[in-house]
Amino acid sequence: MMNSNAIKLISTLALSAVISACSQAPEMSFQESFRQALETAKPGDVITVPQGTYSFERSLILNTDGVTIRGQGMEKSILSFKGQVAGAEGLSVSASDFTIEDLAIEDTVGDALKVNEGNNIVIRRVRTEWTNGPDVNNGAYGIYPVQTTNVLLEGNVAIAASDAGIYVGQSKQVIVRNNRAEFNVAGIEIENSIGADVYDNIANNNTGGILVFNMPNIAQRGYATRVYDNEVNSNNTANFAAPGTAVSGVPAGSGVMVNSNDQVEIFNNRIADNNTANIVISSYFSANYAGQQELAAEFDPYPEEILIYDNTFSGGGTNPGFDYLVQLRDAIYGVDGAFPDIIWDGIIDPNKADEKQVICVKNGNAQLLSVDAGNEFKGAGVDMQKHDCTVAKLAPIVFADA
């Protein structure tokens, strides 16, 4: 509810900035006018970012619905936060009907772009990157919508986030397509979200390529995610997440990983050379995070109704990311051997006898190894009969007309 007088004042200021631009560094005048435009935005505003690299010492913030931020390209319009001294994000948005496109956000101290609560969010052709490459001191998330509905992420590039490059949390009606996520701990992560389509993305060279997770202590339990038509290759970067974070429990070499989530369809992807396994399915108990005993009672820790079909697998499984997995690989397949394309912790809900509904696999001769983590790996082995099942396929995500 910013007032029009302030807008008038600011227009005057912006105008004087433009007028005096000849005698000032043009970058300076843009930083200030951009911040003013965000602070005084009205619904319908299109705020443009011209070509250039613009440095900011403190985070930017937008609270107004119906605003578009538009640059001239993710390699041309760059908001740089190298040397940022204040604020936990680069750009923090708390608004609906928000579109941001064609710019880059680099080297933020914390998250690059966070959108906290809002409907109809479009993030398109935005690059978020820590230009120094993978480092535990990089910000946690690149593109981070949380508690959003009808959210479209497309054509983005996310590089070197110390948690997830693209992270959709606690949201509904999500489409993530045509993005490229590389050298993050998690390339693309869908967490506690209901209804997500993740397709035509490239998730290479992360610690884990594409993750579908549920975390406890969150009001919304996630389910119904489709992961298809993606390239998920060589996600073997050593895990550089801060200890204690959920993704710090992701073994390097995980292609597509499902943890504690239900109704996940993984199909028609090309998944190759992920050295723990091309697909990893696990319960909360194998997630390597803490608090399991206390939380299990109030939380569904078991992955269920996971459907895997028609993926193209190659390579992978040769260098598992955790010691206990290496030992298991050595024991079952020999030191020069490899895990099969799918590994699963094998932990099932003791109250549900029918194990078949946990993971259904119709993927040619691809094999699933249950490591039987709940019984000290005693029953580790492959039994594809147990996964010869099917569950109802999910409908595509279609945004309701706004």
């Binding site: 005057t12 005084t40 604020g87 946690a140 608090g291």
Partner: protein
């Protein structure tokens, strides 16, 4: 008409008023007319070197207050004559249109202008002078028909000026360290004051019974009783809740620590707040232990975990994320995310002492 001319005219007008009556009126401006100069409001201004609060505005204090880089804070509330706020035992009081709340941030300074972070102040605005103090900013909350507006004014010379975009002010402290003091932008004001992050209404945070229920150091009476006796507050029902003063050794450690977390964290970490995404709730309500952080793993803390596994490990502050995030000044890791660039050592010690006292075990 340029702002300069407006300001000059306003100053001229004010001079006339001041000469005529000794003290001007508190003014209310519509959203289209917010003035550039703080003094135009008439609430707070410099007379010579001395800070002057209008007689019709009431100076107030909180029990435990938000930590803001060791800044001293002068708070005032103005309620239009003949109107009154409505008491509520737990929520922000509903205040009449035309109410103005101000908070002025300042420091004592040494002869070289370096800021002193260890000074105290007895709450009397007459003791605040630009010869001994550095005025940094004054934030106003203005109650309009549609709700509250937040306006940051930054001090420069003998007045403070509206700065919607906020400002990063750089100071040197007496210990030679530098201070990057962030004056929040208007939207950043909302980051804390939209305590319900879904409806996004801006609300005062301190104007609650539990924060105000204390004796004023200025006039030695209970503030709620004083407000009610002046007619600016109605409906006070006893017993009114009361947060602790965080440094009050007579209060229990638990009460002091919960009070500290309430005012420093609860504006976001409440069930409808911006930080409900974390599932960690630190306002002074009865929450399940896991929601209050006991043995609770982080959700999206990134490097803010400090490598620790749970928000609170009973008995072990050195293993608790809560202590870590208070005890860092890295913008990526620290909590609160906004409003400080220094560590509140005493606050860290308080919360850590409380965690050390908690019983239980995280398996």
């Amino acid at each position: 008409m340029s702002n300069f001319i407006t300001r000059a005219l306003t100053t001229a007008l004010w001079t006339t008023t001041l000469v005529g009556c000794g003290q001007g009126e508190v003014k209310h401006f519509s959203v289209d007319e917010y003035p550039q100069a703080l003094s135009d409001w008439g609430i707070i201004e410099l007379q010579g070197t001395q800070l002057k609060v209008h007689d019709s505005a009431v100076v107030y204090e909180l029990n435990t207050a938000l930590f803001s880089d060791y800044a001293l804070k002068l708070r005032t509330v103005f309620v239009p004559v003949g109107e009154s706020a409505d008491y509520h035992p737990s929520d922000t009081f509903n205040m009449p249109v035309g109410s103005i709340i101000s908070k002025t941030f300042f420091y004592a300074k040494d002869s070289q202008g370096r800021l002193i972070t260890t000074s105290t102040w007895q709450g009397d605005p007459r003791d605040v002078s630009t010869s001994t103090h550095e005025l940094v900013e004054t934030r106003l909350l203005i109650k309009q028909v549609d709700g509250w507006d937040a306006l940051p004014y930054v001090w420069d010379g003998d007045d403070a000026y509206l700065s919607i975009t906020g400002k990063l002010k750089k100071y040197t402290l007496t210990n030679q360290k530098s201070l990057n003091y962030l004056v929040p932008s208007s939207n950043q004001c909302a980051s804390c004051h939209a305590t319900n992050h879904t409806n996004k209404d801006i609300l005062p945070i301190g104007i609650k019974a539990r924060h105000l229920n204390r004796t004023s150091s200025l006039y030695q009476a209970n503030q709620l009783a004083h407000w009610q006796s002046k007619g600016m507050l109605q409906g006070v029902s006893e017993p009114a809740p009361s947060n602790a003063l965080w440094a009050d050794q007579a209060a229990s450690l638990s009460h002091r620590a919960r009070s500290y977390l309430d005012i420093n964290c609860g504006h976001c970490h409440n069930a409808a707040g911006a930080a409900d995404t974390s599932g960690l709730l630190l306002d002074y309500e009865d929450h399940p232990k896991s929601a209050m952080g006991y043995c609770k793993p982080p959700v999206a803390a990134g490097s803010g975990t400090g490598g620790r596994l749970y928000s609170i490990v009973p008995g072990h502050p050195e293993l608790s994320i809560l202590s870590f995030r208070l005890d860092t000044d890295s913008p990526a890791m620290m909590m609160p995310e906004l409003g400080r660039s220094l560590i509140h050592k005493e606050g860290v010690e308080l919360v850590s002492a409380w965690i050390a006292e908690l019983e239980g075990e995280c398996i």
